[in-house]
Amino acid sequence: MMRPYSEKENVQKKPYYSDRFWVAPQIPKEPVESDAIFASDLDVLKAKFEIKEAYIQRGQMVVYINPADNVDVLMCLRDELSYNFLSEHSAIDWLAKSGEFEIFYQMLSTCKHKRLRIKCFIKEKETLKSVIDVYKSANWAEREMYDMFGVIISGHPYMKRILMPDDWYDHPLRKTYPLQGDEAAQWYEIDKIFGKEYRDIIGPEERDGARIDVDDTYRFAHINHEVPFGAPRSLEKTVTEYQEEGGVFIVKKLKKEDAKILKERP
């Protein structure tokens, strides 16, 4: 599927170009009836649980369920429908749109050679039951989901952040989290190592990777015009050599004319 053409006459002149009417392309959805195995699986699920929506995308069935049923649905999938592997489990942040997280469980059946995705929506402060009793692989996935999104899980044996430090503030994969960090994140290492009072001494982070200050000899060196750390700039020419001119006791100074240069590798 191609995105529709839009005028790009002056794209080069603009520092940032964004198409205001761009709509993310969607992979076409097929009915579940088009695949016999998925259709029979869905019938088993429909007999026991409330199914909100189901379709096939890219050869994988997607089933929307009630968040309260998650443990029972996964138990049924594992024991009755032989989906024996939970390969991925995380959340999608839709808080700005609807105040909800979309939770997904990506499953694999090694017997049927099929992949299936169970999805459900939960509110921001709603708790979700842990599925560790069904799949052990959910342990770290749920910790990561809590760490990155702040989804609260009930019944997890060790509910602790997995990637970020324990004293980290906020959940970094939320859409509202700034990429370069909030205040707590930007000063995290300074506050932790030196204490808050050192913020003024050390200064804020330099976030512009292209910043160059010719007068700043703390951070920038002028090749062939080198001065000691922090000294003012000078135009006096310096020769960069890795060893002192007179040589050092015992350490022999390499002279280029003494070196034997090979034309090709022996």
Partner: protein, 169 residues
Amino acid sequence: MAQHKINYLQEAGLPVALTTVDKLVQWGRSNSVWPLTYGLACCAIEMMATGASRYDFDRFGTIFRASPRQADVIVIAGTLTKKHSPFMRRLYDQLAEPKWVISMGSCANTGGMFNTYATVQGADRIVPVDIYLPGCAPRPETLQYALMLLQKKIRTEKASKKLQPKRLV
């Protein structure tokens, strides 16, 4: 009766070399710069290559040590994350004086391409850095050159115990 006579004043001179304590001590230190076995990311692979037989760090007297108590220099080889920064600072504090720091690669110098919430934007926010080594990742030759420059720097320093305390950062 000696079979031959050495005239110390005429030939190669007296078998005495005059030098200063500073020069002698720092000459010794510069030729036994022991780095800490400490790698953070892909730059550590280049550091390992520098330590291995082809590039052979040992010929500079540079032998990787497994304990900060035995090391003189710490090579920050790779991305320094904020989560890891307290441990990095602790390792630096555990190095015995005198100690030096080589910041290896773009990530350790400035945060590099990781302009994000989780990366320390330059290791010099945590520890004082002596040599900044550009590259992503720097070739082993670059690390060798950095070590030679560090040796040169060490030779210009004073050996005295009354060294000025290093700035905090």
